[in-house]
């Protein structure tokens, strides 16, 4: 049975904070849940399914269901890093289709900025029982040098340049100038990006996303409920997930899990990349965006550099408006996990509720893609395709 249309996104909320020194992580999750319920026109007691991931404090759904005092028939805490929330939408569709819940709440929140976390540049050992740790930790893997190795290999194989990568940040900054909540609102140029300090070759400081506190929430509901609410109808028509690792040593850094999460989502939806009017593409780094665009089929493998150049991702200028809220590169990367904000901006676009300066005309089809974990080692690609009904 196809999951196409089994659920609708009826509520979406992004927390406006980018620095939350005065709030706990649990409170941030709950403020996001409250915001999404108000957006949907539902109340707390309507929720019967709850989805969270590794950013939820304590024992995941148990701690949060207790803190928020929910009564759920179904919980899920699949953790695939920043791509968990696209996966949660897919799993919510499955559980709705199976009759295990009718109204699913998905939350994300965290405060790496308040906690002074050196997100991208510090090596963390993690749990030494994790089978890869002893073979990686001594070598100093950081978030940024792992993504940087993907960029270096892409440049080597396809001739991609730092200037081409810079266009991705330039496009994000053009959008962020209109977002009052964005952390970085100054429009930048290609030159600004390539002249910013080198963090880990070939990635510069402006190739990296922001570190922010905050969060977001989504409500996914079954069709009958969605149609009884007063909000525009945003139907989920395609979902896919694809974890990718080092493949036993056959490491291939030139493509991401999007190569595996995209095809099932496209097939379910019945639409193709050229039909998409707006795309939210996970942007932990500029290279992340470029590789996902190729892997999702928006352009040929190796042609991503050309595709993103000359403002092609800028709303009103190029062919594929992306991350019109400013994305993780300029606006927000709450809990170091950008998956949920990708879906939220796609919902805004489909409802016609994006900022007027970046709103895509007649936006009826959108895609929101996540990449969680580390692109250079083990990560998950997760794809959601949405239609305005």
């Amino acid at each position: 049975m196809s999951l196409k249309g089994a659920g609708y996104i009826v509520g979406a909320y992004e927390h406006p904070t980018r620095r939350a020194t005065d709030k706990s992580v649990a409170l941030l999750h709950t403020e996001c849940a409250k915001g999404a319920l108000e957006d949907a026109g539902l109340t707390k007691d309507d929720i019967d399914g709850y989805f969270c991931a590794g950013d939820a404090p304590g024992l995941g759904p148990l701690s949060m269901v207790d803190y928020m005092n929910l009564r759920c028939r179904h919980v899920d805490s699949t953790d695939v890093g920043g791509s968990s929330y696209q996966v949660a939408v897919g799993h919510a569709l499955e559980s709705i289709a199976a009759g295990r819940c009718s109204i699913a709440l998905i939350t994300l929140a965290g405060r790496p900025r308040s906690e002074g976390m050196a997100t991208g540049t510090a090596t963390r050992a993690g749990n030494v029982a994790q089978p890869d740790v002893q073979f990686e930790y001594p070598y100093g893997p950081t978030v940024v040098n792992m993504y940087a190795m993907c960029a270096a290999r892409h440049m080597y194989e396809y001739g991609t340049t730092s200037e081409q990568l810079a266009w991705i940040k330039v496009a994000a900054s053009h959008h962020a100038q209109h977002n009052p909540h964005a952390m970085l609102r100054d429009v930048v140029t290609v030159e600004d990006v390539v002249k910013s300090p080198m963090v880990s070759t070939p990635l510069h400081r402006l190739d990296c996303c922001v570190i922010s506190d905050g969060g977001g929430a989504l409500i996914v509901a079954k069709p009958e409920i969605a149609k009884s609410l007063k909000r525009p109808l945003v139907k989920v028509i395609g979902v896919g997930e694809g974890p990718k690792g080092q493949m036993g040593g056959d490491v291939d850094l030139t493509y991401s899990g999007a190569r595996w999460s995209g095809p099932p989502a496209w097939e379910m939806s019945g639409v193709k990349p050229s039909d998409i009017k707006y795309a939210s593409i996970y942007d932990s780094f500029t290279i992340t965006v470029l590789m996902q665009l190729e892997d999702l089929g928006f352009c040929e493998k190796g042609q991503g550099g050309k595709f993103v150049s000359d403002g092609n991702l800028i709303s009103g200028v190029g062919k594929l408006p992306f991350n019109t809220d400013g994305g993780g590169l300029c606006s927000n990367h709450p809990a170091n996990r950008g998956g949920i904000t990708k879906i939220i901006e796609a919902v805004r676009q489909l409802r016609g509720e994006a900022h007027p300066s970046v709103q895509v005309k007649n936006c009826n089809l959108a895609l929101a893609h996540g990449t969680g974990g580390s692109l250079g080692t083990r990560h998950c690609g997760s794809t959601v395709i949405l239609e305005r009904e």
Binding site: T121, F135, E136, Y137, P138, T201, G249
Partner: protein, 132 residues
Amino acid sequence: MAYVQRKISFAGAPDTNPETKPFWDACAAGKFLIRRCTSCKKAHWYPRGLCPFCFGTCAWEEGSGKGKIYSLSVMKRAEVPFAMAYVELAEGPKMMTNIVDCDLDALKIGQDVKLKFVPTEGGPPVPMFTPV
């Protein structure tokens, strides 16, 4: 610029994981082991009890210590800059490692490298590589 070696920390101890203790014991004795499947005959990385290609049983063998740089990133924003890399071993698999004892800015993808053990704090030396 003269090469400066950053301090390397080991994670846990060799016997943290009984599956790979022989590997670290060999490192302590100056030997670089790789793991090969007795069924499909493929070598893999990082070492596992069962083959990640066919779940066949595996045996240790001494690696040649030869390889070439598959990808590379010089971490500039670190107390002591260092070269993170994946090296494609002559035996096939690609392993995460560092390229040491060299001009970091002159390193290139595709370059031939050879094994060099680098001491750690709290554990056996770890296999790294240096240009041939």
